[in-house]
């Protein structure tokens, strides 16, 4: 075991750096949130794929299916909802029917009304109030596999030209992506956990890998807290990168000072 580089009196040994990092991160998030600056976020290529897919649906006169996952309000669901809002706007503008399957777990029940609000708003802002139909957000039970069955049923009956599946999806995602592919729809997915991402990378036409979905959500969202979060996350990723590269160089040169720092 490596000895820690420093100790802070009163703090449990080996936990000082972790505590400092959490506190600094909190300060960073707060700073960027309250600074009022509009933070630059790069457009991820997945968004072009989404626009293209909706365009194609409009040309073919077929519906778009877009889901935001089956989780409660978590990191991935938030990203899914931001993307759903974008999809709804584009669909309303193009005059394409949008179907949003909801449900899938009991914890997702509280997300449903928010999603409905988002879609309704998007239609309203595009001046297509009359085109909004709340029946197009079917509730497919609070059970994962009943939801999956219902989702697949919708795909088979309505034959959409594009399926956009974002947010917090689990093993049912494979199931849905396979069906979506079988009916010839453009399949765009996002994945948060890694074995799902790998399987979806195979099953979909385009995939937003991991953090790409929250970043896309923040890019589309007007709300500063989301952008501030992405900024703070980037700084910590950069920190990780610096520590890794620095650590590798120093370690190769024979000094384990970075490792000592990390266990402090």
């Amino acid at each position: 075991m490596v000895n820690p580089l420093f100790q802070v009196p009163g703090i449990v040994s080996g936990r000082a750096l972790g505590m400092i990092l959490v506190i600094v991160l909190a300060i960073l998030v707060y700073y960027y949130m309250s600074s009022g600056k509009k933070i630059y976020i790069r457009r991820v290529p997945g968004l072009d794929a989404i626009e293209e897919a909706i365009g194609r649906s409009a040309e073919m006169g077929k519906p778009v299916v877009c889901s935001f996952g089956i989780g409660d309000f978590n990191y991935w669901t938030m990203a899914g909802l931001a993307i759903l809002s974008h999809v709804a706007t584009l669909s309303a503008r193009a005059g394409t029917r949008l179907i949003v399957p909801t449900g899938g777990s009991d914890s997702s029940l509280i997300v449903r009304p928010v999603a409905e609000e988002i879609v309704r708003n998007a239609y309203l802002l595009e001046g297509k109030k009359e085109a909004f139909d709340s029946n197009d957000l079917p509730f497919l039970s609070g059970q994962q596999y009943a939801y999956t069955g219902g989702y697949i049923g919708i795909l088979q009956r309505t034959r959409p030209a594009s399926v956009i599946m974002t947010g917090d999806h689990y093993s049912e995602a494979m199931n849905i992506a396979e069906t979506s592919n079988a009916i010839g729809a453009i399949t765009i997915t996002s994945g948060g956990y890694i074995s799902n991402v790998a399987a979806l990378a195979c099953a979909s036409d385009y995939i937003l890998i991991g953090e790409e979905a929250p970043a896309a959500g923040a890019y589309l969202s007007k709300e500063p807290p989301l952008r501030a979060s992405i900024r703070a996350q980037d700084i910590y990723k950069a920190l990780a990168l610096i520590l890794i590269i620095g650590g590798l160089i120093l370690m190769t040169a024979g000094s384990d000072i970075v490792v000592q720092l990390l266990v402090s």
């Binding site: 093993s171 396979e178 079988a182 956990y193 890694i194 074995s195 790998a198």
Partner: protein, 289 residues
Amino acid sequence: MTEQKTEKRSIYRMLVEYDRRIIYLFIFVLILAPLMQPFSLPIQVSPGTMTYYNVLNGLKKDDVVLVVFDTEFSGYMEIQSGILASIKMMFEHEVKVAIAVAHPEATGIPQLVFDQLKGVMDQHHYIYGQNYINLGYIFPNSASVASTAQDFHSIVRQDAYGRSIEGTFLDNVNTWKDWTLISVYTTGIQSGSIINHYGLRGTPIIVNCIGVMISTQQPYLSSGIYKALLESMRGGAELEYLTSSPGPGLTAMNSFTLGHYMLIIAIILGNIGYFGYRSEMSRKAKEER
């Protein structure tokens, strides 16, 4: 659409566009057949399994091990070979075993394990309460895992059968420090909290996980939180092979091999079809011009 149907389909095209249900049928048959008519094919032990074996082999008499069934019942089907072979090794080393459950569906597993290992347990004079105990569903959420790591008896007072745990070997267990080893069999329900509340503080952990989780568990292995990782049913079969106690794992290995080879052949045929069909189409396009 109708034109396409009347047109004769080339072999390449058939390899690209086929009814998915054909693949489904093949899997069913190829898995089921070897299970109904077992035959033996050789296997090779991977280095990861070897490490896992060595950790278990290093256990000494009266070490205290916490076994966690962190799995739905479906997960048990996949890793039962690993569970049986590992716990058999623990019993053979005469360690004290406490079993905890982290999913409602797993509450039936401890009894299944005891039934199947009855022979070894009798041979090594295992007495309930003195040498082993079934704590039942004590890990419904991460908070409960955290509590047990800080003060075990504050949250666990009874075993699975509603009897007080006072007077058992658990009297000597109070915090995370008091376990020699935690052996987790997991589909990933509470494994994260076990890492956070036990592993991080320094309790040695070994894990037998389902195949889907292997990639997500790798980082914990490489960062040293896990002492060893047994991969899915394949690892279990290898462990059975190492301990020379053939069980469900080894008998399943033929189905396993055939299932993999089927997919490999499907991939090869798919590629032949894809390239064949593509060159066919481009040839046709040229001719039409």
